[in-house]
Every structure is written in structure tokens, then in C-alpha cells.
Assembly symmetry: C2
Homo-oligomer: 482 residues x 2
């Protein structure tokens, strides 16, 4: 017997042979460019700087200090190892009670303690990724759609729909009103879906918004709640950036709005996604949470959590860390301050060369407006510009089209996943590019690619000593090879 | 506006409102009985003893000793905390390279190093639960079936089919040949499925077998491999009990069989499920592994692993522990010896009152033959007997019907999740019950329930001093309240 080993995709499922995962989107192309040639301050100063990753690296000094001071919190220290056995063997999908209690308390804290969460409604999942999928499985049959305002997190398509067969249907928002979500836009999307015979089962929100870095105000949230109640459809609020709000207006959770709405709202329709990946900066720990006000969803989600439970080693550590109120208070405050400073440095640095950003007060990123640099107002031109930024300027920012933005020329720029020196290099590269581009554009309109190729050679000569550079020649780390 | 909050299941998915999860099976009823009244040697000596949980608690002294001696292995010790940041932030779905390397090496070790595993084919998942589901998503479209020999692990129904829509189709095995899997049985199931218009896409095996505690011999594995190649269908081998084999014959992995088969086998059809929940005894850590010889499956499974990645805190610890070869060698040997001793004590204790068990040499359980105690050879009688054992004898063993066994009267008894004193109590209860039952049966055939209710009152008077009891009155822990 002989077999053709090249037939690897024969006999696989449609899911395995299809492209529903979406990893081939532009968003991921940038990641690959970074992975092939990652920037390193000391070892690879010509590499691509990763600005496509919404990581929060700014407060690990506080975390590490806490960890060393709290050896009982770990099952791997002489002080904590006697708990190793019971923790390692624990596999109840309700989770460690102390973990659920601590997470519920923490969720209240990052919402200003204006609302409380019931530990019995805390359901674990493998990150927010798993939480979003679990809710899709619970709330939508294959083909059913949830409305989602644009621009939105690219991996929602994978998380919400890849394995569930559920759909997302866009609610078009744009810069004319700073990408605000209006009742009119929701109604328009709902009606359009109806005419296409698509059953709309709910709304999926991300608040604070990735990629916008904005928070939804109370009135908007009230409008949306009225909308879903009027239509008798669900709302899923992904609030994983709740604690990244660094200035006014404060973050308002859907939990607050349903509290004030009282009986004028059907709580069975309301579900929250949370995680410790952004607010604490622990994406590796895979702590995702489904919080539902619907008992049947809590029960079903808990059963589904078997596919992505949080490691009890991690539950145990998080239980101790998050229930240390003094530490948590200090961490939340300090983290917001550091994010605010970083955000300020970035927006000012961009403004100096005339680059605008959407006014924002949350998140680990900026929504950068490069519309004026587009050859023409199309997504083709956006991707053309983006490829230059990734491959020549060597910054892995993310193009708006990968967020399903309806308007070309916007880019998401992450700023909290790097140290101050890398920020300086990144800002210098962007500014140099923009100045060069403006000049080049005038001379040679429509020939973007030609201009870009000369960029890497001339950027340093021209701009290293630029008076606009926040680093200029002061830092010995900023070398001519950046 | 007012809302009827009792309508919680309105507008949910069919999955959320259906019973595809199967948690209401008899298997789970026993767990609930235990949870309502758990046995505790010092605090609740009249409680239900948990013998339905295939946990491996016998070697935690070795683990705890290793953990304390290796502080660098943890990110929560002064020696290891400098790695905290990079570990907590790491979210690449390929996993930490050192983790994949260590797992690949460990997988070879528990298979006697007769076969090697490629770290690049190691895909993480949320326990074996997640691994089985990922393979179902990759290999089967909704409605497609995999053949599975009976009796089999009850939660396969949930893991394989609940969210994927894939089916399991039974291959009937029974005690006439010690539940061996034959080509004839496979062909019969395959043909029967065809006549029912069910598309058979593969075979799902569990080797060593839960609940049988047996290993598949080389010839059987060769037959099965020929079968799946003849039919051009997949094989998924769940080998999560690989390291629980405590005596001859040794464990043979499907990996060995395809190695010897060479080109006479299509490797693209072969996939392995592994985990550290049983072999190491860490179910809480949720370390599941998909290992496929099919590149397309590796790629797709890795994308799906985003829904259930292993916490990097746990990856980091496991990487250090499993790459300590001296420790691993000692652990594997010691664990097998302790399991063998426990298995021997249990089988001997049962044999003394004439209770037979299927001859086995692996696993964390016995397959106990109580056919002679059935009122009649039906599953109704099996469940009747089982309810007496759970509620009156207060042992949460698992009835064969919950494992889809084709023959009534078999029960799975877990023996590695308790300490020696609890074993003595459990054995005493079983033996007392069987002796009582045999006597009662003669006097009062067919009135099992009446007999059972008197059991708890008389068992201690009659049997505490029984010469058959391994504990008799020697242990101060074995009190009259057991």
C-alpha cells in the first residue's frame, strides 16, 4: 500500500480547509513582518517596531515587587507549596471560590465601585477570546447576526464567528461625529439586515473601544440599552479595557446603566466580557470572564468553560493579588497615570508634525489620522500607505481597514507595549516619514512607492538632529542605525 | 416598560437551551451525591466517598519537593520573578519554545523512548477536553461520525460533539473477549453507520482505556491502523493515561505503530491527544496537547488553540519540571509503582469477597464486575444497584451504562484519588455491602431496595471486625461511624 502524503487536506472539515479564521488579513501581515525582523534596541536597531500589539507593559515593576513580597500567593514557594497538591488537582469548572470573589471585587473596583458583581455569575474562559466565543455559542444559532459598530477589533470575526457560525453585521460609524454610535446608525443596520433576511440577535460592543481609545458616554449607553430592549435582542459588552481609562470622562459600564434602569430593562439580555489581559497586562495567563445577568447563560457558559478553564495555578495567584485591596488601588491609579503620560507624549509628538489623532482617554493605542497622506481616499491607497509604513518605515501599525473602518486613512498605533527609548525611535520614524512624505508628495504625486524606498536611506541624515525630535541627540540609545 | 424576567431562555441559541452537554447523565448524578455530602476522614465519616474521579494523587510529595528545590522554575519566587513580565505578557499561540520542547521530550519518555515527538507539532489546548474538541472541529463536519469502541469515557460525547455537531458511533465490545477491539467489530459498526447514511470520518480510541484500565496490544493497534487506511478515515488516539501503566504488557503508542508501518500508512490520518492531567496529576493546570502528523491539522488546531491556551505561568513551570530528566525518570517509575501497589490492594480486597475485576495494568481505576448482583441483566437493574451503592453504601462509583457499555453490571471504581485510610473505609463498605447483598438476595430476591435501606445500620456491627477487612480494628482512623 502506498499513500500520497501531499493529500493532507483531504478528509478534513470545511472549517479546517476554509479561511474563516481570517489570519490572512492585513492585520496579521504586519505581525508577520515584525516577527521576521523584530526591532531590538541593542541587537536589531533596523528592525520593525511592534506597534500592533495592545499590550500593557508599563507597571510590571509594581507586580514583581508584590509577587516577591507575597510568597504565600504562589504554590511554588516554600511558603506556599503545601497548597500545591490541592490547587493542581482542583478542576471544578466553578473555579476556586477565592478567585471568583477576588475577580468580582476587582471588576467593581475598576468601575469606580459604583456597581457590584456577583461572584456566582463569574464564569471563566480562555481569555476574552474564549469568552466572546462562549457567548456566541450561547446566544446565536449559525447564521444569526450581532450588530457591531465599526471600527472594531479584527479578531472579533474569529472569536465570534469562526467556529460558531454566528455572524457580525456592521453598524457604520465614521469621523463626522468622532465615530460615535447613534440610535439612527443602529436602526439603519438593523433594518438593512432585516431586508437581507438576516436574523439580528443582538449588539456586540467594545467599551472602551479598541481601536478608538474612547469610552461610551452615559447617554449613548442608555440609547443602546433602550434599542436592544425595544428590539428584544441581546447586548454583549466587551469591557476588557475598563481600567485603561486615564482621564475624564470616566468609564461607565453597562452594569451601571442597567442598575439605574431598574425594571425598565430586561437583564436577561445583558452580558459582559472581561479579562486580565489588558487591565493587568497578563495576556499570557489567559484569564477571561463571562459575566451574564441571565441565569441560563451563566449555566450554559459554565459548562462550556470546560474547554478553556483558567489554570488553577494562575487562579490561585490572581485570587491573592486581586484581593489585596491596597495593592490593587495603588496599581489602578499608577497604571492610569503612566498610560496618560505615555498617551500625552505620543499625541504631542505626532501633533508636532501635524498628525492628528482621535481625541481619546483610554486604551493602549491611538487612532491616528493619516487621511491627508493617502494618494486617494480608498482602502487600496490605505493599504499602499500601510505597507510602506510596515516595510520601509518599519513600524507595525495597523490599518483601519483591518478594523472594518468605513473610512480610509486611519491607523491604530499601540503605545504601551514598549519602553521609553523605543517610543522615541518610533516617534522619530513616524515624524521623519511624514515630513518626507509631505515634501515628496508635492514633487511626485501618486508615486508613493518610489518615495518610500528612498526613505530609509535619508531619514536619519535629515531628521536625527531635527529640533522636533524629543530624543534628538541626547539619548545615547538613539543611534544612527534607527 | 416592563419585562418578564422569567423568560431567561428566550432568544438563546439551540445549544444553550438543548441538552447536548449531557451533564444530566447518571455519571454526573453520582458526582452530585458526593458534592452534597462529601466523605472526610475526620469531619464527615458518614459521607459519600468519591470513587468517580480519575485523579492521580499518589505522588505529590515528589512534586512538592521538586518545586521547593527549583525556585527558578516559578515566576513568583525571588529567584524567578525577573521573568514575570516576559512570561505574563507572552501570548504566542505556538507556546513557549521551552515548553513545547519539554512536552515533546516527556511524551517520548512516557512511551519508553521508543519514539520521538516533534516540538513543532505540539499544539496546546485547554486540557484533553479542549484537544478532543479541536480535533473534532478539524476532522468532522456537523453530522459526520467517528467510531468509538465501547465502553468509553462519558464526556467524549460532550467534548467531541456538543459544540461541533460531530457524532460518535459505537463499536460494540463486551466481556466475551475482555472488551477487545476487533476488526470484525469495527467493520460491523462502519457498515451499520453506512446503512444509516452516516458518514464515518474516523475512529476515536482511548489507550490506555478509561474505564477499562487496559492497554491495546501491538496486533490490535496494527489491525486498527490497517482498518483506517483501508477506509481512508482518520484515527484520533487519546493517550492521556500513557504513564499510568504499572505492569506488563507495556504501553504501545499509535506513534510506534505508524513508525514501524512506514510508507504502509498515511500519516495524515493520525492524531494524538495528550495531557498532564492524569500522568502528572495536574488537571487544574489545564495542559492539553493536540499532536497531529498532518500539517494542515497542526496549522488549524494551532489557530483554534487561541480559545484554550495554557497559562504561560503554567507553561513556564512545566517546561522546567518536565525537562529535569532525573526528576522525570524517578517520578515516572515511582508513580507506576505506587499505582501498582494501590491497584493490587484494591483487586485483592475485592477478590476476598468474590468480586471480580477486568484484568488490567493501567489507569486510575478498576472495571468491577457486579453482574451477579443484578436483579436481572438490564441497565435498569444496573442503575438500581448503582443508586444503592451511591446513596446507601455511599460510594460514588460509576455505572457501566454511563460509559455506553453494551453489557449491564460493570462499574468503574477510581482508586488513586484518595489516601490509604480512605481506601480501607471504601473497601470495607464494598465488601460489607456485597456480603450483605448476597445474603439478602437469597432471602428476598428482587427486593433490592428494601435490603439496601437496612444496610447502613447493620454494616458496621457485622463487618467492622470482619477477618476480611484489611483495616480491621488496627487503624484508629477507621471509626464506627464509617
Amino acid at each position: 500500500m502506498e499513500f500520497n502524503s501531499s493529500n493532507e487536506t483531504q478528509m478534513l472539515s470545511r472549517m479546517a480547509t476554509g479561511d474563516g479564521h481570517g489570519e490572512n488579513s492585513a492585520y496579521f501581515e504586519g505581525w508577520k513582518a515584525y516577527e521576521d525582523n523584530p526591532f531590538d534596541l541593542s541587537k536589531n536597531r533596523r528592525g520593525v517596531i511592534q506597534m500592533g500589539l495592545a499590550e500593557n507593559r508599563l507597571c510590571f515593576d509594581l507586580i514583581e515587587e508584590w509577587v516577591v513580597k507575597n510568597p504565600k500567593a504562589s504554590i511554588c514557594t516554600p511558603q506556599g507549596s503545601e497548597d500545591f497538591k490541592e490547587i493542581a488537582i482542583f478542576q471544578d469548572y466553578h473555579g476556586l471560590p477565592e478567585f471568583r470573589n477576588a475577580v468580582a471585587k476587582f471588576m467593581g473596583k475598576v468601575r469606580g465601585e459604583r456597581v457590584t458583581f456577583d461572584p456566582d455569575r463569574i464564569v471563566m474562559s480562555g481569555g476574552a477570546t474564549g469568552a466572546v466565543e462562549i457567548l456566541a455559542f450561547c446566544l446565536a444559532d449559525p447564521g444569526d447576526a450581532f450588530l457591531v459598530p465599526t471600527p472594531y477589533y479584527p479578531a472579533f470575526d474569529r472569536d465570534w464567528g469562526w467556529r460558531t457560525g454566528a455572524k457580525l453585521y456592521p453598524v457604520i460609524c465614521d469621523s463626522s461625529n468622532d465615530f460615535k454610535i447613534t440610535r439612527a446608525a443602529l436602526e439603519a443596520a438593523y433594518n438593512k439586515a432585516q431586508t437581507e433576511n438576516i436574523r439580528v440577535k443582538g449588539v456586540l460592543l467594545n467599551n472602551p473601544s479598541n481601536p478608538l481609545g474612547t469610552v461610551l458616554d452615559r447617554d449613548t449607553l442608555r440609547d443602546i440599552l433602550r434599542f436592544i430592549n425595544d428590539k428584544n435582542i441581546h447586548i454583549v459588552c466587551d469591557e476588557i479595557y475598563a481600567s485603561t481609562v486615564f482621564s475624564q470622562p470616566e468609564f461607565v459600564s453597562i452594569a451601571e446603566i442597567i442598575q439605574e434602569a431598574g425594571d425598565n430593562n430586561n437583564r436577561n439580555l445583558v452580558h459582559i466580557v472581561y479579562s486580565l489581559s489588558k487591565d493587568m497586562g497578563f495576556p499570557g495567563f489567559r484569564v477571561g470572564i463571562v459575566y451574564s445577568y441571565n441565569d441560563a447563560v451563566v449555566r450554559c457558559a459554565r459548562k462550556m468553560s470546560s474547554f478553556g478553564l483558567v489554570s488553577t495555578q494562575t487562579q490561585h495567584l490572581m485570587a491573592a493579588m486581586l484581593s489585596d485591596e491596597r495593592f490593587v488601588d495603588r496599581f489602578i491609579q499608577e497604571s492610569a497615570e503612566r498610560l496618560g503620560r505615555r498617551h500625552g507624549a505620543f499625541t504631542r509628538g505626532l501633533a508636532q508634525v501635524g498628525i492628528g489623532t482621535l481625541k481619546s482617554n483610554a486604551g493602549l493605542f491611538l487612532w491616528m489620522d493619516l487621511r491627508r497622506l493617502l494618494r486617494e481616499p480608498t482602502f487600496e491607497a490605505e493599504l499602499e500607505l500601510w505597507r510602506i509604513i510596515v516595510h520601509d518605515v518599519k513600524l507595525n501599525v495597523s490599518p483601519g481597514c483591518s478594523f472594518h473602518c468605513a473610512e480610509p486613512g486611519w491607523f491604530r498605533v499601540c503605545f504601551a507595549n514598549m519602553d521609553d527609548d523605543t517610543v522615541r525611535v518610533a516617534l522619530k520614524r513616524i515624524r521623519a516619514f511624514v515630513l518626507q512624505r509631505k515634501g515628496g508628495h508635492k514633487q511626485c504625486r501618486g508615486r508613493a512607492l518610489q518615495i518610500s524606498t528612498s526613505f530609509s536611506r535619508i531619514m536619519l541624515d535629515d531628521f536625527l538632529m531635527s529640533p522636533h525630535s524629543p530624543a534628538s541627540a541626547k539619548s545615547p540609545m538613539v543611534q544612527a542605525t534607527n
